[in-house]
């Protein structure tokens, strides 16, 4: 693709990013549910070259998943209703984790629960496991009857749950949010105040597709989660909104196919990105995103990804926000007063600092 002879003399771009306690060599992660438990694609993707591998959401008990049809292609994307099929905690810990460790990946384990108590038990069991750099809490599965995106789209519930999870691990805690909410910014603030190290914006959008001959859903359930390039503009906006609302890093996700897509998310404030559905089409998609991202930045003389991050963040009057925010959401005002990318990195919100201290205690 690139001529190595000339390019290799040019300085490398520093792509390293920090997500809470995690130092990632680059900002490209695989999205949960699109890269298996990490080893399925390992013969075509050297895992250590990625920023991190976010594994398929694991629940306390194994889940068989929803009946077929689980997938429907739509314009520029796909709907899925997999239903969190997974091997369950015990097998994840005894079989998947050792394998993934041996492959040298930076591991972020995705966990999902129907209640705060289930998440506590999961994190309690996995929180001290060696080799897990962080946990992504799946607060946003659209395809399960209980404990899915709707249940978790309540700021106080998120905040309280994260506050209970925070002491259970020294690893990073990422909160993956649903886009189907009134304000993803409000949910992000709740996560920050609960002690999350980062939020992931966003999971799939709830959608429908019909089979007109049968006059029923193409899927076995009425709705599914929409992913793929069809959602990229929507996800980009949600990511931007979250990044404006909080000081903790936001990880952009939704329809990223190329390095340029990823750079759009980072330009509106994302600290890192996740490549998801693209991996279904090209198993090496995450690597390609990384290579394209680096080539683009190098060509423009951008030496550090941090200098790119937030460089296209819209100013306050360019976005539609509620001027009469409730007192509980004051954190937004503080962030807005000082939101240049450089300062955003240096300052931590009081809630975040508290969370970190209590963890060490």
């Amino acid at each position: 693709m690139r001529a190595p002879s000339r390019k290799s003399r040019e300085p490398k771009v520093d792509l390293s990013v920090r997500i809470g306690p995690m130092e990632l060599r680059n900002p490209v992660l695989t999205a949960s549910g699109t890269f298996g438990y990490g080893d399925e694609y390992a013969h075509v993707v050297p895992l250590p070259s990625l920023g991190g591998v976010i594994t398929k959401t694991v629940t306390l008990e194994p889940r068989a998943g929803n009946p077929p049809q689980r997938i429907a292609e739509t314009a520029g994307g796909m709907l899925n209703t997999i239903g969190l099929e997974n091997v369950g905690l015990l097998r994840f810990r005894s079989e998947k984790l050792p394998r993934l460790r041996s492959l040298g990946a930076v591991i972020v384990a995705s966990i999902g629960g129907e209640t705060p108590g289930e998440l506590e038990r999961l994190l309690g069991a996995l929180g001290g496991e060696p080799g897990i750099a962080g946990f992504e809490i799946n607060f946003s599965c659209p395809n399960i009857a209980r404990g899915g995106a709707r249940y978790w789209a309540v700021p106080r519930r998120l905040e309280r749950t994260l506050a209970r999870l925070r002491p259970l691990t020294r690893g990073a805690i990422l909160a993956k949010l649903s886009p189907d909410v009134t304000s993803v910014g409000d949910l992000a603030i709740a996560c920050e105040q609960g002690g999350a190290d980062a939020v992931t914006a966003v999971n799939t959008f709830v959608g429908m597709a019909l089979d007109l001959a049968r006059r029923s859903s193409k899927l076995s359930r009425a709705t599914g989660g929409l992913s793929g390039p069809a959602i990229k503009p929507l996800a980009l906006q949600r990511c931007c909104e979250a990044a404006r609302a909080v000081r903790i890093p936001v990880i952009g996700s939704g329809g990223i196919l190329s390095g340029l897509d990823a750079l759009e998310f980072m330009a509106v404030g994302a600290a890192a990105v996740q490549v998801g559905t693209a991996s279904f089409i090209r198993p090496r998609a995450a690597l390609q995103v990384l290579e394209e991202m680096e080539a683009f930045l190098r060509e423009r003389g951008v030496r550090r990804i941090d200098d790119w991050r937030g460089s296209a963040m819209p100013s306050g009057d360019a976005v539609d926000e509620d001027p009469g925010r409730k007192p509980g959401l004051r954190a937004v005002t503080i962030v807005r007063a000082d939101r240049s990318p450089r300062n955003r990195r240096g300052v931590r919100s009081p809630a975040f600092s508290r969370g970190r201290e209590s963890r060490r205690a």
């Binding site: 998943g65 077929p68 991996s279 089409i281």
Partner: protein, 290 residues
């Protein structure tokens, strides 16, 4: 963990030629690079059409109808019908157009099982069985090929089928309207091949699911093993997305019972892409298959 190290790769392919094949069918010859391992009969390839040439987003799983070694790769043959956006876009690709090929995927027909192989093809389901017939002929094995369709025009690939059985087996045609072979279905053609205890048969079938269900029933009643090549909507084709489950029968659940869930599936569902697309017909719950 239970799956051997995956051998599939995604490689560049180039359309060598495409031709009309009658009754709306197309035959595609795709030249792929040598990193792609040669597929076995019944395995499939995910064909990804460049986005500028297709409204389809996902790759299309296609069973392989022929494989020819080249000096620097393989020539893969595919028989398909343009139905949706993906296959229409594929049909419009001229010679020289690029198509990415991911494979070989899934598990093919176990042609090495003892007994006379009886290949049962319904309509364009003949595609992987043309490949199976070719393999059997190369191995010097005798086989029967039953080929059914709604009418003579829809016995697409009939000449290829004839060439492959020449000297190695017998071709039994059936059509719904009686315009070729016997008037009736492939199951009625099966009836005429009564199994003999001294010559056990093993069925390898591909066609519409309703036909496969009928073949499964026929085989179960006669204690004949039938391997059926299933279809499903798929996204990744490699077991990662979990998008192509097929419900297991009680026997299928029992057979899977002690295994941990894996790329192949779990106790309730088999993944069509990894455990299949070829299944022992007794392992699937035909009541829950559309």
């Amino acid at each position: 963990m239970t799956v051997a190290v995956s051998a599939w790769r995604q490689v560049r392919g180039r359309v060598d030629q495409q031709a009309d094949f009658g009754a709306g069918h197309r035959w595609l010859e795709l030249r792929v690079t040598a990193e792609l391992e040669p597929p076995d009969p019944g395995q499939f390839i995910q064909l990804l059409i460049p986005s500028h040439a297709s409204g389809a987003f996902l790759p299309r799983p296609m069973s392989v109808a022929s494989v020819r070694p080249l000096r620097d790769g393989l020539m893969l043959g595919f028989l398909y019908v343009p139905i949706g956006v993906g296959t229409h876009a594929l049909a419009a690709l001229p010679a020289g157009a690029e198509v990415e090929a991911l494979g070989p995927l899934g598990r093919g027909f176990p042609l090495d099982r003892p007994g006379t192989p009886v290949l049962v093809a319904g309509g364009r389901g003949v595609a992987p069985l043309l490949f199976a017939a070719e393999s059997l002929a190369r191995l010097g094995r005798r086989f029967e090929l039953l080929f059914g369709a709604r009418d003579r025009a829809h016995l697409v690939g009939l000449d290829e089928a004839r060439r492959r059985v020449a000297g190695r087996g017998r071709l039994h045609l059936s059509t719904d309207d009686g315009s070729a072979g016997i008037k009736g279905t492939v199951v009625e053609a099966l009836d005429r091949l009564s199994p003999r205890p001294d010559h056990p048969m093993v069925i390898h079938a591909c066609g519409p699911h309703a036909m496969l269900a009928a073949v499964a029933r026929w085989a179960a009643e006669r204690r004949v093993t039938a391997w059926v090549a299933m279809e499903s909507v798929m996204a990744c084709g490699t077991g990662v997305c979990r998008g192509c489950p097929l419900a297991r029968s009680a026997r299928g659940r029992a057979a899977f019972g002690s295994q941990p869930p894996s790329l192949l599936g779990n106790r309730d569902y088999a993944m069509c892409c990894t455990e299949g697309p070829v299944f022992d017909s007794r392992d699937l719950d035909w009541e829950r298959i559309e």
